[in-house]
């Protein structure tokens, strides 16, 4: 370890004394690492709020009829659960936390291109989030449209839709600025000798994601503005009574929101692509294929939005067209799965917690992805559209995919971020509990979905009760596992044993610098490898 020599000068970013002290040294920090932690604390808080709201809904569904809440309360709950989880947790999630922390380090930079803009993005993120949560408590009642805000219901309902959409607009603005910052960082701040194809694959994923954030978010921005104008001034865009066309709202909404699912999943794939080679001690299989498939997903992902609208009354031609493109965009995702598995083949596998989480991710993502194909074909989609089959599908992708990738990432990088280790055995136990809880929670929803259980209903026919019962039990197990994991991580980050600079024997740049890194990341010469996954 080369940092032994200069030990005296080294001060970690956690202890570095800047212009401010105490809390201010965090909330006014421009260091990308501190901002990453700020995002993480905020997002973790929202995630647990959202998860508890989800559990409340599960309890309502444990038996037919009104169990613990009124129908309108349930409508508010699934809307706010959706808004929190989508706009405040999974869309910023990986890129704002781990992208912020590790993108600059992995490409050999001191910081992002615009550190102050980075802080500003966090502030608007918090502002938008507060607004979104506030919409739940206003006098007119929580919004009850679902996170999709479909017109014309959203233009006519009396609930606080304007606040919620304004919040989504502001959160989108934050997302755009983060994407912009990362794009410029990748283009302008790479260390000398680091060409695009020398970058590790997580930066590649973040780069592709940033393009989507930049180019897709404005479309939902303008859509929400139109919705707000319609409510405030009676400008008719979407409400048929005012001359508009509600299906056009769906088009505009999904032109953003399908690419948005790739904002969620691409960084997750990037994380897994970092973890798999490290714990197999093998060069990643098909580096270029993975890098370029990220860009391919980002590009083609812009053109498939209509698969959310098969039952909307869209024309026959549009339906087969979108179906075709949906199947095409599934190909690069599958390529990645094959790459991970080929990388493991003949590797010296080390079942540490990050790798276990990565395996859980791959398993759940395969289920989510293949059920996505069922939804992508028009005939089967019409059968299961707006049933709990959809709910199961997107939870497998978003929670099983993005969520578990987040857990994998925190277990992988926590030693670097805090300079301490957590308890491995407990982490593995937490992973197994959550994996069991997750499948118990969502798998039954595929089954009752195919049998006809509608989505977004607070009541149901008695025949679905077994499925719902199992599902609720799974929910409890999952929440238990979540808290178990959280406690283990907090304990580790605060009092765990000191972590070495390279606990996993990784080969990418972050493992060449001390844990935790210093303010400027690279105080000493470092090596840019031609292939970042160069295990000798």
């Amino acid at each position: 370890m080369s940092n032994e020599v200069n030990k005296i000068e080294y001060v970690s970013y956690l202890e570095h004394q800047g212009r401010f002290k105490g809390l201010k040294s965090w909330i006014f920090a421009t260091d990308h690492k501190r901002i990453a932690l700020l995002y993480m604390y905020a997002i973790a808080a929202f995630f647990f709020i959202g998860a508890l709201l989800g559990l409340l809904m599960r309890f309502e569904l444990i038996a037919p009829g009104e169990t613990i809440m009124k129908a309108q309360t349930y409508n508010g709950l699934f809307t706010v659960h959706g808004v929190i989880m989508i706009f405040m947790v999974v869309i910023p999630g990986l890129s704002a936390v781990f992208g912020n922390f590790f993108l600059p380090i992995l490409i050999g930079a001191k910081d992002v291109a615009f550190p102050r803009l980075n802080l500003f993005s966090w502030w608007i993120f918090v502002f938008g989030s507060v607004l979104a949560v506030a919409s739940q408590f206003l006098k007119s009642g929580p919004p009850d449209t679902g996170w999709t805000f479909y017109a014309p219901y959203s233009t006519t309902t009396g609930t606080s839709v304007i606040i919620a959409t304004t919040a989504a607009f502001i959160l989108g603005f934050s997302s755009i600025l983060t994407g912009l910052n990362f794009l410029v960082t990748v283009h302008q701040m790479r260390a000398p000798g680091m060409k695009f194809f020398n970058m590790p694959l997580f930066p590649w994923a973040i780069y592709a994601t940033a393009w989507i954030q930049l180019l897709a978010t404005p479309i939902v921005g303008i859509t929400l503005l139109m919705l707000i104008a319609e409510r405030l001034f009676g400008i008719g865009f979407f409400d048929p009574n005012l001359g508009g066309d509600p299906v056009l709202f769906q088009h505009l909404f999904w032109i953003y929101s399908h690419p948005a699912v790739y904002i969620m999943i691409l960084p997750a794939m990037g994380v897994i692509t970092e973890i798999v080679p490290t714990f197999c001690q093998r060069k990643v299989y098909g580096y270029k294929a993975i890098a370029l498939s990220s860009l391919a997903i980002a590009g083609v992902g812009f053109l498939v939005w209509g698969h959310h609208m098969y039952t909307s009354g869209m024309s026959e031609n549009a339906r087969w067209f979108f179906s075709l493109l949906t199947f095409i965009v599934a190909v690069p995702s599958a390529i990645k799965v094959f790459n991970w598995i080929s990388t493991m083949y003949k590797g010296s596998i080390d079942l540490k917690p990050p790798f276990l989480f990565a395996l859980a991710f791959i398993f759940l993502f395969i289920i989510g992805g293949t059920t996505g194909l069922i939804l992508g074909s028009v005939a089967t989609n019409i059968q299961v559209h707006d049933t709990s089959f959809i709910v199961a599908h997107f939870h497998y992708i978003i929670f099983g995919g993005m969520g578990f990738a987040f857990f994998a990432a925190i277990h992988y990088w926590l030693p670097k971020m805090y300079g301490r280790l957590y308890n491995f055995r407990r982490a593995n136990i937490a992973c197994i509990i959550m994996f069991i809880g997750f499948n118990t929670l969502y798998f039954p929803q595929f089954v009752i979905g195919i049998q006809g259980m509608p989505r977004r209903y607070f009541d149901y026919l008695p025949q679905f009760q077994t499925g719902h019962m199992i599902s609720t039990i799974g929910g409890v197990i999952l929440i238990f596992g979540l808290f178990y994991m959280l406690i283990n991580l907090i304990k580790g980050a605060r009092k765990g044993p000191k972590a070495p600079a390279n606990p996993w024997n990784g080969s990418t740049l972050e493992w060449q610098i001390p844990s935790p890194p210093s303010l400027e990341n690279f105080d000493e010469p470092f090596e840019v490898k031609a292939n970042p996954y160069d295990y000798k």
Binding site: V247, H251, F302, L303, S315, A318
Partner: protein, 94 residues
């Protein structure tokens, strides 16, 4: 791309571009007096496209920027055109 080496567009050139832009503005107005039926939109967009090209290339200096940026700007317009086209697959066949 450092500032000092970046291109300086002469006043004369800028003035000439303005004249070209004015010319096309009058062209697009006078074209409306003919009834070109379904071609009106095409012609209007074509002329607007030409004007946009001049603004982008000379006023915004795109002509003297690096290739990457020029490609990116082109891609934005292609992406938008694709989105419009695909939406029309729905609306033209309903």
């Amino acid at each position: 791309m450092s500032n000092n080496s970046s291109h300086i567009t002469e006043y004369k050139v800028l003035g000439r571009i303005l004249l070209i832009l004015m010319f096309f503005t009058f062209a697009t107005i006078s074209v409306t007096s003919f009834n070109l039926a379904s071609f009106t939109v095409t012609v209007a967009l074509l002329i607007a496209g030409i004007k946009g090209y001049f603004v982008l290339s000379y006023f915004m200096h795109l002509k003297y920027e690096n290739l990457l940026l020029r490609i990116l700007v082109g891609m934005i317009f292609v992406l938008f055109a694709l989105i419009v086209l695909i939406t029309f697959i729905d609306y033209s066949y309903r």
